[in-house]
């Protein structure tokens, strides 16, 4: 008989697989300030909760193909404010969002006008922590027009702004985004500049803006590079996110990066700042984030229920051991 070793009692036990990196970050809490959960499965919420993600922000963005009418925008905003928030709550994750017209779709002027008309209805809603993600993609005049208009909206509502910086000509796009924000009277501490890299980080920090980094395979940052950035620039006003979406991306990027930072000898306090505290601080300027809610979310929204435990059963999802071949 070849290849068959003797079966022991151990082989018959269910496999419980805990990736090694989870050990390194046991007990830590994370805030992912940029992740497009609408493109992810419920399994991702479960894995994020298990890895210590207690809260996240879903910025309104591009769904991969252009929307053809304002109604689909309305439905999209409703879904990130409603269904996504509920789905997250099922795993004890507090879900916030930023609302805005993204740069790619700003190029369809008729549609952009219609979206601008409904935005005020949405930015005052509960749990909307900013106007975002807005800014430049191809750096066209229309992108600039709607970027400016939305900065005005944010200013009026007293909300932070979350800026998407372009892939092409990033350095110039980032500079322009900051210049225009200042021109519209937004204080740098109310602006979170996203998708930074080695080329943009220094100026963003020097000018007093928040510098967010997206850990996204192939196109944005790798987390080894992120470790180097924190080593070089420290932890002040820097934050890490996954920007996970429908592309090849990783909703566990924040906890994984924390583990790698830990392994690389970065101080635990600095890790806590860049993977949790800084993002909470920046977006709490909206008046819509209360850290105590993160704990309450763990109670599966008990406040919404009637007679406590009777109803709680209804909201809870069965846990599934994904490492068995049996599906019940």
């Amino acid at each position: 008989m070849c290849g068959i070793h003797e079966l022991t009692e151990k082989d018959l036990q269910p496999l419980t697989y805990t990736p090694a990196y989870l050990d390194k970050i046991k007990g830590m809490r994370f805030f992912d300030p940029h992740v497009h959960m609408t493109s992810r499965t419920t399994d991702d919420y479960q894995a994020m909760a298990d890895a210590g993600v207690v809260a996240l922000i879903e910025p309104a963005f591009w769904l991969g193909q252009p929307r053809t009418g304002v109604d689909t925008f309305r439905d999209y905003f409703n879904s990130i404010l409603g269904w996504e928030r509920f789905r997250a709550s099922q795993f004890g994750i507090k879900h916030y969002c930023t609302i805005g017209l993204n740069s790619k779709e700003a190029n369809n002027e008729a549609l952009a006008e219609a979206v601008m008309e409904i935005l005020p209805q949405f930015i005052y809603k509960e749990g909307v922590v900013g106007v975002g993600e807005i800014g430049f993609d191809d750096q066209t005049p229309l992108e600039e027009k709607y970027y400016r208009a939305q900065l005005e909206l944010a200013k009026e509502a007293g909300l932070p702004v979350q800026i998407h910086t372009p892939h092409r000509d990033k350095k110039k796009g980032t500079q322009r985004s900051m210049d225009i924000a200042i021109e519209h009277g937004l204080a740098p501490h109310m602006v979170i500049v996203d998708h930074n890299n080695e080329e943009t980080v220094k100026e963003v920090l020097d000018r007093g803006f928040w510098a967010a980094f997206t850990i996204y395979p192939f196109t944005k940052m790798g987390n080894e590079r992120m470790v180097e950035i924190v080593k070089q620039y420290g932890s002040e006003r820097i934050m890490v996110n996954s920007a996970a979406d429908w592309g090849i991306s990783d909703p566990l990027a924040v906890p994984k990066t924390a583990a790698l930072m830990h392994e690389s000898g970065i101080d635990l306090n600095d890790i806590h700042l860049v993977t949790y505290i800084n993002a909470v601080k920046a977006f709490a300027q909206s008046g819509q984030i209360n850290e105590a809610d993160f704990d309450l979310a763990g109670n599966i929204d008990q406040r919404e229920k009637f007679n406590g435990s009777t109803v709680l059963r209804g909201g809870q999802q069965p846990r599934i051991n994904k490492n068995t071949t049996i599906i019940r």
């Binding site: 309305r74 905003f77 409703n78 404010l81 409603g82 269904w83 928030r85 509920f86 409904i118 005020p120 209805q121 949405f122 005052y124 809603k125 509960e126 749990g127 008046g287 819509q288 929204d301 406040r303 919404e304 229920k305 009637f306 007679n307 435990s309 009777t310 109803v311 059963r313 209804g314 909201g315």
Partner: protein, 295 residues
């Protein structure tokens, strides 16, 4: 049909009294200010949306006298366990002008269309208060289809609107959705009053499907077969009666205790201890509900 089926003024004052006892001076001042702009629809909408930002979301405290005022106007209307923002939103809806029915209906419908989940829950819990109540049947049926727990609960639990206004198929849909999503059935207003033959048939079908899949059937659902026992479903109830699970057996016993169907009576009589428990009130549907919630 009248716009309001109760005295709007009395209800509005009743709610305002509860708001007064549960909110800060700052919140009340803000509401007072907003009231002056309520005639403009965009301002009305923005206030509805912004409520929690200015009032907070504490769980309200309601005195028995305050609750009685609401009950007198709309029987079965509860605000117990509500958060302050939900209560204020319900009150705010009563401040919307009803002089033009079309404008009123359109404004409320649009609030539903752009609502996030707490707004939806507030709107659905306020269904019993809305003007032209018969106009909200389709909207209610739509809400029942929601996948969001808090929204479903706002419609299904302790809300007198569905039992009063939904037609039978929509009502049955609501009950089945509550069962699918594991809601506490005993908190559905009008559950017993709106039992019907069609629902009894749907439920036995559903039980067969569950049993075939090796899954359990909630003991609570048999309550809906009371007064609809036939030779056909008696076989199912007999199976429940013979279950090793004591709660299941107790549920069958409660059904049998409230029917005139002779074979059921005979079966119940074969267990004098259980019969006595029911007669003394020691066993009731509420007792079963409490037991299930501990699981």
């Amino acid at each position: 049909m009248a716009e309001y089926v109760y005295d709007r003024q009395q209800m509005s004052e009743g709610l305002a009294a509860i708001i007064a006892g549960n909110s800060s001076d700052a919140a009340r001042e803000w509401l007072q200010q907003r009231l002056q702009k309520a005639a403009s629809i965009p301002q009305f909408n923005q206030t509805f949306t912004a409520v929690p930002r200015f009032t907070g979301k504490n769980i309200i405290v309601v005195s028995p006298e305050q609750a009685a005022v609401l009950q007198q106007q709309v029987p079965g209307f509860f605000v117990h366990g509500w958060t302050l923002d939900r209560l204020i939103r319900a009150w705010w809806l009563l401040q919307l002008d009803t002089s033009d029915k079309a404008v009123y209906l359109d404004t409320i419908e649009k609030l539903f269309l752009s609502a996030e989940m707490n707004e939806l829950a507030a709107l659905y819990s306020a269904l019993p208060l809305l003007a032209w109540p018969e106009e909200w049947k389709l909207r209610t049926a739509e809400g029942v289809r929601s996948n969001i727990g808090v929204v479903q609960e706002a419609i299904m639990l302790q809300n007198p609107y569905p039992a009063r206004y939904l037609d039978e198929p929509a009502w049955n849909q609501l009950v089945m959705k509550a069962i699918f999503t594991d809601k506490p059935l005993h908190l559905i207003s009008g559950l017993d009053e709106r039992r019907n033959t069609a629902l009894a048939a749907i439920l036995t079908d559903f039980a067969h499907e569950r049993w075939a899949a090796g899954r359990k059937v909630s003991p609570m659902q048999w309550r809906l077969l009371t007064t609809f026992i036939t030779a056909d479903n008696m076989a199912d109830l007999t199976r429940v009666w013979h279950s090793a699970d004591q709660t299941e057996k107790a549920a069958a016993a409660l059904v049998f205790a409230n029917t005139d169907y002779a074979p059921a009576k005979t079966l119940l009589a074969s267990d004098p201890a259980l019969t006595a428990e029911i007669q003394s009130g020691a066993l009731s549907w509420d007792v079963i509900a409490a037991k299930l919630s501990q699981n």
